[in-house]
């Protein structure tokens, strides 16, 4: 038995790697969790379908969906790209129009007061109900999906840009005005950069909505696109293909969302400084 007490460093030193090993293990678990959970979900689905003998025209098992995906892969890819194209075209229009209208709304009280009720009323219309009119006007083709994507997604952009502009701190406005800044100076130097995080926040919502819009319109008013593929496959009672198309939609949607978010982080890193967001 040793009478010599351990030196302080002996007390402290082993504690540090022990903690970091636990932390590392936890981080590894966190990194693996999404994969494990996703795999588990599909595994459970597969097992349930087999055990309960669910017919594949009701709910196909993932293995059946995978077979359908392999069989129809060219159609799936072709129609996915068509849908992507429709969504991005509509979204692009919505961004351009939304920013312009948002700037007008944020800059002028008169424009805001006058057009807000109209905008809210328009936004309240479910856009599915507009598709028949679009078909009436433009016929079946690429126009209805693009326009539906546009109509459904511009509203959040307008509101967010206008909010960013109208919530400028009065003090900074005073600083600028006391320097002799014009209204345009204040918009360009303060209003627009300030509304960027609001804009990008709304883009994530808007792109998801645009995607919904184009798929809805495709299923009624187009000969191409995933929406149309689903409509035809379900008419043929080809349920595995319907599900394969749904999964293609999910993958495409996630890709679009992630791309928007990456763009957001690049453009407005300064706004993402909260500890809450970091943790």
């Amino acid at each position: 038995m040793s009478a010599i007490p351990p030196s302080p460093s002996e007390f402290v030193a082993p504690a540090v790697p022990a903690v970091s090993a636990a932390t590392r293990r936890r981080n590894r678990q966190l990194a693996l969790a999404p994969w494990v959970f996703t795999l588990g979900f599909f595994l459970l689905w597969e097992v349930a379908c087999r055990a309960l003998k669910v017919p594949s025209y009701f709910l196909p098992a993932p293995s059946v969906i995978a077979q359908a995906s392999a069989q129809y892969w060219w159609q799936l890819v072709f129609h996915s790209f068509h849908t992507l194209w429709m969504t991005l075209a509509g979204f692009g229009l919505a961004v351009a129009f939304g920013i312009l209208l948002g700037l007008a709304l944020g800059a002028s009280r008169l424009v805001r007061a006058g057009s807000y009720p109209l905008l809210v009323g328009f936004n309240a219309i479910p856009k599915v109900a507009v598709v028949p009119i679009l078909i009436l006007w433009f016929g079946v083709g690429w126009v209805p999906p693009v326009l539906t994507a546009f109509l459904i997604s511009f509203f959040p952009i307008v509101v967010n840009v206008a909010t960013g502009l109208s919530t400028i701190e009065p003090e900074i406005e005073d600083v600028m005005r006391a320097l002799g800044a014009s209204k345009r100076d204040i918009m360009v130097k303060i209003g627009i950069p300030r509304s960027l995080p609001y804009l990008f926040g709304s883009l994530k919502v808007a792109i998801t909505l645009a995607y919904v819009g184009s798929v809805i319109a495709e299923s009624n008013a187009s000969r191409n696109g995933i929406g149309n593929l689903i409509a035809r496959a379900s008419a043929d009672f080809n349920v595995p293909l319907v599900f394969a198309a749904l999964i293609a939609l999910a993958i495409l949607g996630v890709v679009i969302y992630v791309l928007t978010e990456m763009l957001e982080n690049r453009m407005t890193g300064w706004a993402q400084r909260s500890q809450l967001a970091a943790g």
Partner: protein, 262 residues
């Protein structure tokens, strides 16, 4: 001969004709190069006074002359700093300080071609307020006191003849506040800029100002003026000397009366 800032018999109210005046029959004169402090109970129209003097608001009655000209639009040569530093988070500290130069002529048209010269000037100001080398940091990477220093630099970069400070140290801890008193004291001594400081801190007012103006409760009016003839340059130690304490005490009496009257 009007003073540099000459506010004469001014009445101003917000919210239409029937609104209770924020200031009434207010007369304040500040000479060029003078450091004036305005103190008063809360809601006495101190900030209104600031807005009037810079042309951000126009009085309902009375005249305001700044630098020999009647104020009918924002004065275009005032630097302002507030309790809230209001730095723009998407700009680095240096770019924040350069902001006024993007607005005020002749700098506005010169800025692009003479950028280096202006950056050097901004670096010099940063060093003067004790923020040497911090220009590349973003404002949100700085402490509250450092942000307030940067905000002072922004108020001074275009060499305004008039510096308006609206409780600039109100949100800071006592030690940082006293440090910044000294920063302001030195800036004023070095540049002989005219300063109007609005504050509710009597020690701050007496330490910094040549003259302290006491305002009454709403509607604001001048109830007392006190010349502070303590010798300059003043050291923080002076705040513990008997003459200093006497002046603070005297002002405190005025404010107490004004609050009672309200």
């Amino acid at each position: 001969m009007p003073a540099f800032v000459d506010i004469h018999a001014v009445t101003h109210a917000y919210g239409g004709v029937e609104g209770l005046p924020a200031v009434e029959d207010l007369t304040v004169r500040v000479e060029e190069g003078e450091f004036a402090a305005v103190v008063g109970p809360s809601g006495c129209g101190k900030s209104t006074l600031m807005k009037l003097a810079t042309g951000l608001q126009f009085p309902r009655a009375g005249t305001i002359v700044v630098d020999g000209r009647q104020v009918s639009q924002p004065v275009r040569m005032a630097g302002m700093a507030f309790q809230n530093p209001t730095l723009l988070p998407w700009r680095t500290t240096l770019d924040n300080i350069l902001l006024p130069l993007e607005i005020v002529e002749p700098h506005r048209s010169r800025l692009r071609r003479h950028k280096a010269e202006y950056v050097e000037k901004a670096q010099g100001l940063l060093a003067q307020v004790g923020l040497k080398g911090m220009g590349d940091k973003f404002p949100w990477q700085l402490s509250g006191g450092m942000q307030q220093r940067a905000s002072l630099c922004r108020a001074l970069i275009h060499e305004p003849k008039l510096l308006m400070l609206d409780e600039p140290f109100g949100a800071l801890d006592a030690f940082t506040r006293e440090e910044l008193w000294c920063v302001i004291r030195d800036l004023h001594a070095a540049r002989r800029v005219t300063v109007i400081l609005v504050t509710h801190d009597l020690r701050e007012a007496v330490f910094l100002a040549d003259r302290v103006v006491c305002m009454s409760a709403r509607p604001g009016r001048v109830i007392a003026e006190r010349k502070v003839d303590l010798p300059r340059p003043r050291d923080l130690e002076i705040t513990y000397s008997a003459p200093f304490v006497d002046i603070v005490h005297e002002l405190r009496g005025h404010i107490a009366n004004a609050r009672k009257a309200a």
